[in-house]
């Protein structure tokens, strides 16, 4: 058995840059979505067709990414005496 149809592409999902990786092992397609920074795997789905696996992966990744809370960075250092 070998991975076939290995493919990577970059996109935006829910406002976040992601990498979508797909390949086929035997008769099963696997699609994973990774955040571009830092490159972590977010979701991975499988299906009997590429479209099926990818639609599931995209939906689950969008749900996870939509929950990310962004806080505008405040400047400055909080320091505690004696620490």
């Amino acid at each position: 058995m070998q991975a076939q149809e290995y493919h990577e592409r970059k996109e935006q999902l829910a406002g976040w840059p992601v990498k979508i990786v797909s390949y086929r092992l035997g008769s099963t397609y696997y699609v994973s979505v990774h955040n571009e920074e830092p490159g972590a795997w977010i979701v991975k789905c499988e299906g009997q067709t590429l479209a099926d696996a990818e639609s599931k992966a995209r939906r689950q990744a969008e749900e996870a990414l939509a929950k990310v809370k962004r806080t505008p960075p405040a400047a400055g250092c909080t320091s505690v005496p004696g620490f």
Binding site: M1, Y30, V68, T71, A74, T78, F83
Partner: protein, 282 residues
């Protein structure tokens, strides 16, 4: 025969080198993935799989595995102290590097990473199997743990307040500034965003090429040296839970040859949750 990236310590092997050594009895190939189901989908023939979340962590103590558990894992994997262990995994070897670091803590002599990890093996359409290998168990005796490569909280406090070591934060720039608390799409595991005062930001992925392989030592020297991480002082690497920073620890110690490099596995989930600890933003 290609042996992969030429390093002084010979700890990186190429996918082609691994393909040529699948049946070498002196070698044990081990897959360690972030995605703990990936091994069962298909793995390198004869490779054993380790689940980082159960077999490389003591979740009760929030610690690395004990010496006894380590010896048990090695024995069940058919590894002796003389075995050459080749580690590989997904996410450009994040948890393969985590396993490498623990194997070095327990003194295993010959451990190597497969350059490019699982991604490169798949992309090259190399052979995979779903069959678990037949393992002849061994009795493994680990060495006394070497904690010179592990940073604990007091080491990091001293590095931050007294500049006893260079701190390198290997998370994404948005985690470093405090804009987000965890990599997008992953669970938030800390109370606050920001970084340890004095830390320099060098995201782990800067050490890798697009195909997942490590950059050349010359490129790495430019990247880390440019951020002031030169190896002239001890270095402590950290991230969120210690796996990304074990990747950078590997790069600094084995590809750049820095003498004193520690991985702070407590990382941001310890410091970011610590009562009264100073943080810096951005």
């Amino acid at each position: 025969m290609s042996t992969g990236l030429q390093t002084a310590s010979g700890v990186v092997v190429s996918t082609s080198w691994v393909a040529e050594h699948l049946n070498d009895p002196k070698i044990r190939i081990v897959e360690v993935d972030v995605d703990t189901k990936a091994y069962s989908e298909g793995h390198i023939p004869a490779a054993v799989g380790w689940d980082w979340s159960r077999q490389l962590c003591d979740t009760l103590r929030r610690d690395i595995i004990s010496q006894q558990k380590f010896e048990q894992l090695m024995g069940e994997s058919g590894i002796t102290p003389q075995t050459t262990v080749i580690l590989y995994g997904d996410n450009n070897n994040w948890f393969a590097a985590w396993a490498f670091w623990q194997m070095k803590i327990y003194g295993h002599a010959d451990v190597r990473l497969m350059d490019g990890g699982r991604k490169k093996w798949l992309a090259e359409s190399r052979e995979l199997t779903q069959e678990a290998p037949k393992i002849q168990k061994t009795s493994y005796k680990a060495k006394t743990p070497d904690y010179s490569i592990r940073a604990f909280l007091p080491d990091v406090q001293a590095a931050s307040s007294r500049k006893t070591a260079d701190l390198v934060d290997v998370r994404s720039p948005q985690e470093f500034t405090g804009e987000i608390l965890a990599p997008p799409g992953l669970p938030e595991t800390c109370q606050r965003g920001g970084h340890i005062p004095g830390a320099k930001s060098v995201p782990w992925a800067k050490a890798c090429n697009e195909d997942g392989t490590f950059k050349s030592p010359e490129e790495l020297k430019t990247i880390y040296g440019g951020a002031g991480i030169t190896g002239q002082k001890p270095v402590i690497a950290y991230c969120r839970i210690g796996e990304r920073s074990s990747h950078t620890w590997f790069v600094l110690k084995y590809l750049l040859g820095y003498k004193d490099v520690k991985n702070y596995d407590g990382s941001w989930t310890e410091w970011g949750n610590l009562v009264a600890a100073p943080i810096e933003r951005p």
